[in-house]
């Protein structure tokens, strides 16, 4: 069975949360970086919603994954693209789902190879808990606790929608 969560409600919540964090921290010109693939769609959408000028960044974390020694190299790796100087900038790092936290660790390592940012704000559309590393999002559109047979997936890019799948 496949259920749908209302994407627009989640995006509204994510945007509101982000605006609040930016204001609290006094960040006025952040750059946004999405983790491929879902995070890139979100970076595009939120970049527009937040009225940010300039391009957003795309990260492919394949070269930084900690499971290379188990599964080898992702055969569909694409170049990362951070078309701006990250040195001293405030970065909004965004992904569709956070679970173990391993993807975020890899993404932060990669960001630091481009230079030293002033700060990173982590935003995710959905937080599924089940963390394995001490990494927490600053903003999450929704926190969900999934049953063992449930999977959640962001589909896109146009239109964006969330699929909640149940396997038998």
């Amino acid at each position: 069975m496949t259920a749908q969560l209302d994407i627009n409600v989640l995006l509204d919540d994510l945007e509101t949360g982000l605006r609040r964090v930016l204001e609290e921290r006094g960040v006025d010109s952040p750059v946004i970086v999405g983790i491929r693939t879902g995070g890139v769609w979100l970076a595009d959408t939120l970049s527009k919603r937040l009225g940010l000028e300039g391009p957003f960044g795309e990260l492919d974390i394949s070269f930084y994954r900690d499971d290379f020694s188990r599964i080898g190299l992702n055969p569909t790796v694409k170049p990362s693209s951070l078309p701006f100087d990250t040195e001293g900038r405030d970065i909004i790092l965004i992904d569709d789902v956070i679970m173990s936290g391993r993807t975020i660790r890899a993404a932060m390592n990669e960001i630091f190879d481009y230079g030293r940012p002033a700060s990173i704000i982590l935003a995710t559309l959905i937080d599924l808990g089940a963390r394995e590393l001490p990494i927490q999002p600053d903003v999450a559109g929704r926190t969900l606790a999934l049953a063992e047979n449930q999977r959640v997936k962001l589909r896109g890019p146009d239109p964006l929608r969330i699929e909640l799948q149940e396997t038998a």
Binding site: D60, S62, F63, Y64, F68, S69, R70, I71, G72, L73, P75, T76, V77, K78, P79, S80, S81, E87, N109, F112, D113, Y114, G115
Partner: protein
């Protein structure tokens, strides 16, 4: 009765079709060659960062095993391995200093004792990397950095990357390889890659003494006359000519070779106006190519050097990845058995 599978894929691919050694382009299909080019594109981006290093091969040891010395090739492999965070050991072993066969087996035994994860092999004997891949402990990846006259697959793939960057793809391309194909491992790998990637025509331009027997069977046409051969070309690849070819009656003189098969502006003008000029280097100016062409707007010779590091990073990380994935799979099979 054929005793052997002519394609070495049983050696260089895992059961799932992932690369685990990189010995030759023979038998590798277009999809995999494209994956190598795509992965290399990602590594080119890495090379543009402040920190040009990724952690893929962290904690692994790569041994550059060069039985034939080549500072240039060894350096690009070394840099590639270091950018993948591997530890690198360079061993230059001159074949003339040792008795061939036994020393190779003995050398391997010693190196395996050092727990190496990858051997980058250059050897004057065709097939030496195959021999090493067959005799090495499972889990160690072998990368061919040039063997005899057989293959130089990383060089050919970096040339393919250069062509793709300039031409967008391979469909409809007319490519010529000019010069000493007989002794060239690079040419053999290039012909194979161009055919598999879908080039329209691969043309060899050389005198009869520098052609292998039945060269057309490799997938190319032959043209003795360079002026005719230059017609409509999109890419012209000049091969290096070794001085010793004048001995043994293969060529009369460098001067005559340059007059007949050297690339100058006049001859280049006969090709397509956007024809690019390539050379695997190091260049003999005035023997294979005129300086005005080598340094001219159609030359992409310097690009080739940058691409070399990215291709080697791609191949090394893919082969190491294949090895680790295979080991993991075998372990889990043993676990469930």
């Amino acid at each position: 009765m054929t005793a052997n599978d002519p394609s070495p894929n049983h050696l260089q691919l895992t059961r799932d079709g992932q690369l685990r050694h990189f010995l030759t382009l023979d038998g590798l299909e277009r999809g995999l060659l494209t994956d190598i080019l795509d992965t290399a594109d990602s590594f080119i981006e890495v090379g543009e960062r402040t920190i040009k290093k990724v952690p893929l091969l962290r904690g692994r040891t790569v041994v550059n095993l060069f039985f034939e010395s080549s500072t240039r090739t060894r350096s690009t492999f070394e840099l590639a391995a270091k950018r993948l965070s591997a530890d690198v050991l360079n061993l230059d072993i001159s074949t003339s200093a040792t008795s061939k066969g036994e020393s190779l087996s003995d050398t391997l035994l010693n190196l395996e004792a050092m727990a190496s994860d990858m051997f980058v092999v250059r050897h004057s004997q065709s097939g030496a990397p195959h021999f090493i891949a067959e005799s090495v402990t499972p889990g160690v990846a072998i990368i061919n950095a040039g063997d005899g006259r057989h293959a130089h697959p990383t060089q050919a793939m970096l040339d393919m990357l250069t062509i793709r960057q300039h031409k967008g793809g391979f469909g409809g391309l007319k490519v010529a390889i000019v010069g000493d194909v007989l002794h060239s491992r690079v040419a053999r790998s290039q012909i194979r890659a161009l055919n598999e990637l879908g080039a329209e025509e691969v043309r060899i331009i050389a005198p009869g003494t520098l052609l292998p027997r039945d060269v057309e069977s490799l997938g190319c046409t032959v043209e003795y006359d360079m002026a005719r051969g230059m017609k409509d070309l999109d890419v012209v690849i000049m091969l290096r000519l070794q001085k010793e070819r004048m001995e043994g009656a293969l060529l009369p003189s460098e001067r005559e070779f340059y007059r007949l098969y050297g690339l100058n502006q006049e001859k280049l003008a006969l090709a397509h106006p956007e024809c690019i000029v390539m050379h695997p280097g190091p260049i003999n100016r005035g023997v294979e190519i005129e300086s005005a062409v080598a340094d001219g707007p159609q030359s992409v010779i310097l690009n080739q050097v940058t691409n070399g590091i990215a291709i080697r990073m791609a191949v090394m990380s893919m082969a190491m990845g294949g090895q680790v994935a295979e080991r993991q799979q075998k372990q889990s099979e043993r676990g469930t058995a």
